[in-house]
Amino acid sequence: MPRVSIDVMLRDEILDPQGQAVERALPSLGFTGVAGVRIGKHIELTLAGDGTDVRATVEAMAATLLANPVIERFDWRVED
């Protein structure tokens, strides 16, 4: 039962207002020198089965459901 993590981020050319807001807020809280903040989603899930076709399952699910390719890209890994 593989445990999988998937990170879904807005594509670089799409404005990420949340990331920008955090980046702007940091200096006033005393954190300087932070740049390029982007905020996306982190999804954790467990797949049934022995993990033989994890890649196929995850990529299919990510490409059709978990991420919207018009605006997002994703990255995934099997944990532990």
Partner: protein
């Protein structure tokens, strides 16, 4: 004319949409998200709300609902489909409309009466002229329209509405969510599927405020009526 209103788990404006359709003279038919067919309606409205809680991404889960298969086929055949707010988001997710809707640039939910300017002649704006200004409520947290090439959309006559000032000028301040090119509504290339962030169904009753929404909802009815016997009806 029977017009379907799809009810997803988490839809909120379906009763408003049904009421508004009635006001403009249609017979609304609620369609269940789990249904396999569209019960023979002549047009379909996907109402606003928070289908599946808007979790993951707005519209991302709803677009897999069983009824969406029948809807896609209906749209393919030229059937008129209107997505309002969450409905717009679902249609984008389903690939029936171009682009995507993302978190408002201001990171807050925005609810206000919103002037919008008609940007194209289409079945969805029949009886309206480009440049006409309507005032219709918006209310959304994720309405920032994103598209790689808004110029090409406009050239193709696919931009339906733009956010504007009451006098029709498009300004940054008038744009409630940071949408590219102030786009408030688009259609597919064929023009039969449309999506809007503003809510015409909330603007049909003088007692409650603006009645400008009637002009939009009425337009689809007259277009469908005019199209009877034409390509749309032929496939029904």
């Amino acid at each position: 004319m029977r017009v379907g209103v799809v009810q997803f788990p988490g839809s909120c404006d379906e009763r408003d949409a049904a009421y508004a359709l009635q006001v403009v003279g249609a017979e609304p038919v609620l369609l269940w998200h789990g249904a396999a067919d569209l019960a023979g309606v002549e047009a379909v409205v996907l109402p606003g709300g928070f289908s599946y809680g808007d979790y993951l991404r707005t519209g991302a889960l709803a677009r897999f609902a069983p009824v969406m298969g029948a809807l896609a086929a209906f749209a393919q055949r030229g059937g008129p489909v209107l997505g309002i707010c969450n409905g717009f988001q679902i249609l984008c997710e389903a690939g029936l409309l171009p682009g995507a809707l993302t978190r408002n640039a201001g990171l807050r939910f925005v609810a206000r009466p919103q002037p919008v300017r008609v940007a194209a002649r289409s079945t969805w704006t029949a009886g309206l002229e480009p440049g006409d200004v309507l005032t219709i409520p918006v209310k959304h947290g994720e309405g920032r329209y994103v598209h790689d090439d808004p110029g090409q959309l406009a050239a193709g006559g696919q931009v339906l509405l733009r956010y504007c000032e009451p006098d029709g000028t498009v300004t940054r301040a008038a744009n409630p969510n940071g949408s590219v090119a102030a786009i408030a509504g688009v259609t597919n290339p064929a023009g039969n599927v449309a999506g809007l962030m503003p809510h015409p169904e909330h603007a049909v009753d003088a007692l409650l405020g603006s009645t400008d929404g009637r002009r939009l909802l009425g337009a689809v009815l007259s277009s469908v009526a005019a199209g009877r016997g034409g390509p749309v009806a032929a496939h029904l």
